[in-house]
């Protein structure tokens, strides 16, 4: 074959590649990159008299945000404690599944997938009944003789959040535990290491990447959560997601909302980078990364 014959083939191959990638490129650039860029621009604008955006260049939206950081601190608090709770609950469960026989393992995993893929909204609404005065809340009230209210508190939001995001922690931890070579544990034991030493020096370093991945997968949606506090918080709990929803759909102050969205993305980037940096520091083995 001469080079002349190959050239049109190459052009055609390039064309095919271009056509295959065109829709995805459109979606990524027009419906992901462009909107996020507009959000950044809007965050420096002012609210138009009838709501929406009016061009301007001001830092006022960020200024107000610094003066009233309440929802941000609540979100951070919920996100951090939710992530920790997920780690504590996910590890024994992932370990239990990973040590089952193959067939049982598959069943247990499918049972985890089912609630995760069914409507988030419906399951959260159902928690209203379970935690409310006809459920656990009422039961605790009868038990203690006091009026115990779970709904409308941070606890309800925390339960709802852990309930919804726990599978995101379990999967990555399970995957790393599955790879754990049990002979290493035997070797450690044979070398006279105690249980704690074996856990700390063998199990933990192997599971670590899974824990980090899981924490990031849980932490990010937790920071932006708004359905759970809207339903289980009885309008008393305001996380950043709820404030964003109000800014955009109720008061239509888009620049203020945009500034909060940009700050949210920034806080997440900083936290996640710090997280990755702190875990990778001084480690020579497998680096932990999201991508």
């Amino acid at each position: 074959m001469t080079s002349d014959a190959r050239a049109p083939g190459r052009v055609r191959s390039g064309l095919v590649t271009g056509l295959l990638m065109a829709p995805a490129t459109f979606w990524y650039l027009v419906l992901l990159v462009l909107p996020l860029a507009i959000v950044v621009i809007y965050s420096f604008g002012v609210r138009a008299p009838d709501g929406g955006y009016q061009a301007a260049f001001t830092f006022d939206n960020y200024g107000t945000l610094l003066k009233r950081p309440g929802p941000f601190t609540s979100s951070l608090l919920i996100a951090v404690s939710g992530t920790i709770l997920c780690v504590l609950l996910a590890f024994p469960l992932a370990y239990f599944i990973a040590t089952r026989a193959t067939k049982r393992k598959g069943l247990l995993l499918i049972l985890l997938v089912i609630p995760f893929w069914t409507s988030f909204l419906i399951r959260t609404i159902s928690l209203v009944i379970i935690l409310g005065s006809d459920g656990i809340g009422g039961f605790l009230s009868n038990l203690t003789g006091q009026n115990v209210q779970i709904l409308g508190t941070m606890w309800a939001v925390l339960i709802g959040i852990v309930y919804n995001y726990l599978p995101l922690m379990i999967f990555p931890v399970y995957v790393t535990l599955e790879r754990l070579d049990r002979t290493l544990l035997e070797a450690s034991k044979d070398l006279g290491a105690g249980r704690w030493a074996t856990f700390r020096q063998v199990t933990l370093p192997i599971v670590w990447p899974g824990l980090i991945t899981g924490s990031i997968l849980v932490f990010i949606p937790l920071m932006g959560e708004y359905v759970v506090p809207a339903i289980l918080g009885n309008g008393k709990i305001f996380l950043i997601g709820n404030v964003l929803q109000l800014d955009f759909l109720s008061s239509r102050d888009w620049p203020a909302g945009s500034a909060k969205a940009v700050t949210l993305i920034f806080v997440m980037l900083v936290t996640v980078s710090f997280y990755l940096w702190a875990t990778n520091r001084g480690r020579r083995g497998r680096e932990v990364s999201l991508l």
Binding site: P172, T183, Y226
Partner: protein, 314 residues
């Protein structure tokens, strides 16, 4: 890896064994408790949808199907159900086609460019939904204003054509996430595929199109179908994005259900929710079956969900 338990006869090992069975027992209890915790709300929704009560949701008054009858004859529920289904199907078709195309295309692009697409794929999956929702709302209303301004200018006195948010805006926003989902599923399947068949096909002088049709596509099919089903499920259940970009008359079932919670949940809401659960679960079962068959055939453990897949690649 099987652990040999026959050689554990000295006292230290006995102590270890007791500790082990204690830990095992605790883990077993812990696991069972969490599974109950995960499934309880689903069971509660379904059980209370059969409540024969006339008003209060938790006021149990015998089994009855009356709330299903009421829900299914409710014209608003019918319309919202139709909206949800049609949005879900169109979204799934687009996302599956474009995601599969991108997965195939990515094999052919230079490494650097692939990194760029990888980054965008992961960003579109892990960014909080609310950020995507509000960003697309801004984009769409900007588009809407520009387009309506344009139509008004060319209307020339007549009634100008108007665009507004609607089903199309929900579909466009849902496809972003689902396209990435399908892309990951199909790519995982591609990387586990047997290349020798493709090479053999070329050696037998098959054209690239024919090779794709007869060799690659059949092997990708389970991942493509699973991607389609998961995309439909996501769209069918989505509340956050839909609540931002839905227009007048394009309310979906999740929006209806959320609206009901503001007025107090009735057994009718639960009946609608139970119908949604049944739809989702049926689709999931089919998808899971296909993915399971796929991973058994390839012999690998295989990721059971796209999320697990993301985790595995991390």
């Amino acid at each position: 890896m099987a652990i040999d338990t026959t050689q554990r006869s000295h006292p230290v090992a006995l102590g270890r064994d007791r500790f082990k069975s204690l830990v095992e027992g605790w883990f077993r209890f812990h696991t069972a408790a969490i599974y109950v915790f995960l499934f309880l709300p689903i069971v509660v929704v379904v059980v209370f949808s059969f409540n024969g009560t006339n008003r209060y949701l938790t006021d149990w008054n015998g089994l009855s199907l009356k709330w299903y009858a009421r829900a299914l004859s409710d014209t608003q529920v019918q319309r919202d159900l139709w909206n949800s289904v049609s949005i879900g199907i169109v979204n799934a078709i687009l996302a599956t086609a474009f995601g599969t195309m991108a997965a195939l295309g990515l094999q052919r692009v230079p490494k650097r460019l692939r990194g760029f697409y990888d980054a965008l794929t992961y960003v579109s999956i892990i960014i909080p939904e609310i950020v995507i929702a509000l960003a697309t709302l801004i984009l769409f209303s900007g588009f809407q204003n520009t387009a309506n301004g344009f139509f008004a200018s060319i209307a020339d006195g007549g009634k100008p054509f108007k665009v507004g948010l609607g089903q199309w805006s929900i579909i466009l926003a849902h496809v972003l996430f689902n396209l990435s989902l399908v892309l990951l599923l199909v790519r995982a399947r591609l990387s586990g595929m047997d290349r020798t068949l493709v090479d053999a096909s070329y050696d037998l002088f098959a054209t690239p199109w024919r090779t794709f049709r007869q060799i690659t596509f059949p092997q990708l099919l389970p991942a493509i179908v699973a991607g389609f089903l998961l995309s439909f499920t996501f769209s069918f259940d989505d509340y956050v994005i839909s609540s931002f970009v839905a227009g007048v008359g394009s309310q979906t079932l999740p929006l209806y259900i959320f609206g009901q919670t503001k007025q107090g949940v009735t057994p009718e809401t639960n009946a609608v929710a139970a119908v949604m659960l049944v739809v989702t679960l049926t689709i999931l079962t089919i998808g899971q079956y296909l993915l399971g068959r796929q991973s058994r055939r390839t012999g690998g453990a295989g990721a059971t969900t796209p999320i697990a897949m993301v985790a595995e690649q991390a």
